[in-house]
């Protein structure tokens, strides 16, 4: 046995797991990270941010991380609107929206990764992800309607 400072170890022995249980601490079954990419490409950064923030909540990630995902999507959406107006490409500029969505996805995926892996680790190989079809479709439609409304008003 090596010479571990006993004082240092005692600092680590404060309980932190009293309210945590791996299969119950999730508020709902999470979505697959890979599936979020389709929302990002078809709905842009705002749709992705909505889905990824809800998923981060499901994975019970810290509030700061949830806020960072939402803020990242919002910033990219604002940048996209500014770019669309400057370049005069209008709401039909699907490609910039898809690219901004992919960037937002990369950022959001990185922030969700450890929570997703812990979830998967506890599931022990069981395929326990929820279907994202309805929520993803709703996010895509709403984000595109919002983007069109913003473009028409400006």
């Amino acid at each position: 046995v090596g010479g571990v400072a006993t004082e240092g170890i005692h600092d680590l022995l404060e309980p932190v797991l009293a309210d945590r249980a791996p299969r119950h601490w999730l508020l709902a079954t999470p979505w697959r990270l890979g599936s979020q990419l389709y929302v990002a490409v078809l709905g842009g950064p705002l749709a992705l941010a909505a889905i990824a923030t809800v998923n981060a909540y499901k994975l019970r990630l810290p509030a700061a991380r949830q806020a960072a995902i939402a803020a990242g999507g919002l910033v990219l959406e604002l940048a996209l609107i500014a770019f669309a107006q400057l370049a005069d490409i209008g709401a039909a500029g699907l490609l910039p929206g898809a690219i901004a969505g992919i960037i937002a996805y990369g950022f959001a995926r990185r922030l969700q990764l450890s929570g997703d892996r812990v979830y998967s680790y506890n599931a022990n190989g069981d395929d326990t992800y929820a279907s994202m079809f309805a929520a993803g479709l709703a996010a895509i439609v709403l984000a595109n309607l919002l983007a069109a409304a913003i473009w028409m008003r400006s």
């Binding site: 046995v1 090596g2 240092g8 797991l17 945590r20 450890s114 929570g115 892996r117 395929d127």
Partner: protein, 284 residues
């Protein structure tokens, strides 16, 4: 008689025959089974048989005879963790650590509980303390691999897995992790080989056997192969590559080729949405 029965039970547990261990212990008189050691072995046998409630009861009964026993608290912590009661499992292992604070096995187990509870920063500090207590512990090394993977530090997890396999070539955890990384590179044959070796090393792990079957099916069934083309680039990388290639071809005046790229890409996406769920269902 008691010593022989207890030694036999210990051996049966070591060779993975927990039912025989219980039979051996059942030959003891009631008074003899009340000893902490007999209850400890009974608890481990029940744990191996996945009778977690009974294992926790055995540990608690043992603790009434030997209050504060680190071995019984460790058993209780395992049983509670298997019942997904992380708070109770933590309370038991912390009580054991209060007696033997530098025990690497206890620290590694606590690190595991913290990882399952998604308290990764504390898990890292606990595993650092475990590694300091016993730098050669393979169990601690296994936990560090898991931690690196959960953090998303894949390169570190891969290096530690290779280090583990260099010391212990039959390590299930090491093989499983190399299987995961081979799969993520799109090398499904190599992944199937690693998973196969992990199953051979521990045939009783149902979760591992299920994963091994799934990866082996991917390696053998050509219907999976189009999906595997997308794996090495990752989901985001695949989209960037497809869009980038299409735009480049279009800008170069090869709009027909760009259209073909787009159609192939859409077909691959549709395939990856439709076919894998069907194959997974058929496999079940």
């Amino acid at each position: 008689v008691k010593a022989i029965a207890i030694e036999a039970a210990r051996r049966y547990i070591q060779i993975g025959r927990p039912e025989r261990a219980l039979e051996s212990l059942s030959r003891l008189d009631l008074d003899e089974t009340i000893g902490g050691e007999a209850l400890l072995l009974r608890g481990y046998a029940l744990l191996a048989m996945e009778r977690y409630d009974d294992a926790a009861d055995a540990a608690r009964d043992g603790l009434e005879v030997e209050p504060g026993s680190p071995e019984l608290l460790y058993l209780l912590s395992h049983a509670e963790a298997a019942r997904d009661r992380l708070g109770d499992a933590e309370a038991a292992v912390l009580a054991a650590l209060a007696v033997t604070p530098e025990d690497p096995e206890l620290l590694a187990h606590y690190g595991e509980l913290l990882m399952r509870g998604n308290v990764l920063d504390k898990a890292e500090r606990v595993l650092d303390a475990a590694a300091e207590a016993d730098p050669d512990s393979l169990r601690v090394l296994e936990k560090r691999i898991t931690l690196a993977y959960l953090y998303g530090r894949d390169r570190e997890a891969k290096e530690l897995s290779e280090q583990l396999l260099a010391i212990e070539p039959e390590s299930v955890r090491g093989r499983q992790m190399l299987g995961v990384f081979a799969f993520n590179r799109g090398n499904v044959r190599s992944a199937a080989r690693h998973y196969g070796e992990a199953v051979r090393a521990n045939p009783e792990d149902d979760g591992m056997a299920r994963q091994a079957r799934s990866v082996r099916a991917m390696a053998r069934n050509p219907l999976w192969w189009p999906t595997l083309l997308l794996v090495p680039l990752g989901p985001a990388g695949s989209w960037v590559a497809a869009i980038g290639l299409g735009l480049t071809l279009d800008a170069a005046g090869a709009s027909t080729a760009a259209g073909i790229v787009l159609m192939v890409w859409v077909a691959l996406c549709a395939w990856s949405w439709i076919v894998p769920p069907i194959l997974n269902r058929l496999q079940r």
